[in-house]
């Protein structure tokens, strides 16, 4: 295994991860809810009476993040995203992620962060499954095709 030292960002990634943990902690302890993006968004597709305002408040916060990030962070932390996938691949990926996360009742945040944090065997199985599928997909894309 070769480590990609050029792109490895231990400090920013660990700090970012800790912030994700803090956000999840506030959400469960103060709002009493699990911070799972696919569930919060999925609940709006379609919206249900009396169950939308909290979801929208959270989404607006998420959408405000880039503006705040660009305003407060030094330029070295702002990098242009690298997107190799074609539009067609992005569409197929979006469909798979939309259907898959709803079918599995969770994604990287709900199962990966919150589920593993509360030591849920169900979330461990989900995380192992999506990680494995991700490893296989990238292996096929980069080393087989």
């Amino acid at each position: 295994m070769n480590i990609d030292w050029a792109h490895f960002t231990p400090f920013a990634s660990l700090t970012g991860g800790i912030i994700l943990g803090v956000a999840s902690a506030i959400f469960i302890l103060i709002n009493g809810r699990v911070l799972g993006i696919s569930a919060i968004l999925g609940g709006l597709m379609p919206p249900k009476m009396g169950d939308t305002s909290w979801r929208i408040a959270f989404m607006l916060g998420l959408f405000a993040a880039p503006t705040v990030f660009h305003a407060v962070m030094p330029a070295q932390y702002i990098t242009a995203p690298r997107i190799d996938a074609t539009d067609m691949m992005v569409i197929v990926a979006g469909l798979l992620v939309g259907i898959g996360t709803r079918y599995a009742s969770g994604c990287t945040s709900g199962h990966g962060v919150c589920g593993l944090s509360r030591l849920s065997p169900r979330s461990l199985l989900a995380t192992a499954s999506f990680m494995s599928a991700g490893f296989v997909m990238v292996y096929v894309l980069r080393h087989v095709l």
Binding site: L20, A57, D84, G94, I99, L116, L125, M137
Partner: protein, 154 residues
């Protein structure tokens, strides 16, 4: 007087903001970084392991406290998941999700943040994801639920 519901809305907004900020700082909003992490047999970028590690380190303490409580700090309901089922939808759904994640390097949170940051491909991804979510919802309502009802009636 500030209604308690307003306070909840403020916290939800702040948590969304904090979470989005964390995603950007961690590098999760860069599909190249995600794919670099998933590329175990190429040149591997371990950054995302630290993202998960850092988040779970904090989350573990929070959920340990949450499990011992019945109400939130604001006195509201504490909604911890109650299902423990290790079933087919969980595994198949996760495999589909993982395949999509590897294909474009986006998962739901980072895609939404990246879209708000003005990335055209993130917008395309989010639109497709919403179609997928809505499609699942319709399948569930008009195919799965009637089938289940039929089984129960039989």
């Amino acid at each position: 007087m500030i209604h308690k519901n307003h306070l909840y809305r403020v916290v939800e907004f702040a948590v969304g903001l904090l979470f989005g900020f964390g995603l950007m700082l961690s590098g999760m909003t860069d599909p190249g970084k995600v794919v670099g992490f998933l590329d175990l047999f190429g040149t591997w970028d371990p950054s995302l392991a630290l993202v998960m590690g850092g988040a779970i380190m904090v989350g573990f303490f929070a959920f340990t406290v949450a499990k011992k409580r019945t109400t939130s700090f604001f006195g509201g309901m504490l909604r911890l998941p109650t299902t423990n089922r290790m079933d087919k939808p969980l595994v198949i759904g996760s495999l589909l999700f993982g395949a999509g994640w590897g294909l474009a390097g986006f998962c739901p949170g980072p895609a939404l943040v990246s879209m708000a940051d003005g990335q055209p491909k993130a917008l395309v991804f989010v639109l497709a994801m919403l179609v997928g979510m809505l499609g699942f919802e319709l399948m569930d309502r008009f195919v799965h639920a009637p089938r289940k009802a039929k089984l129960n009636a039989a």
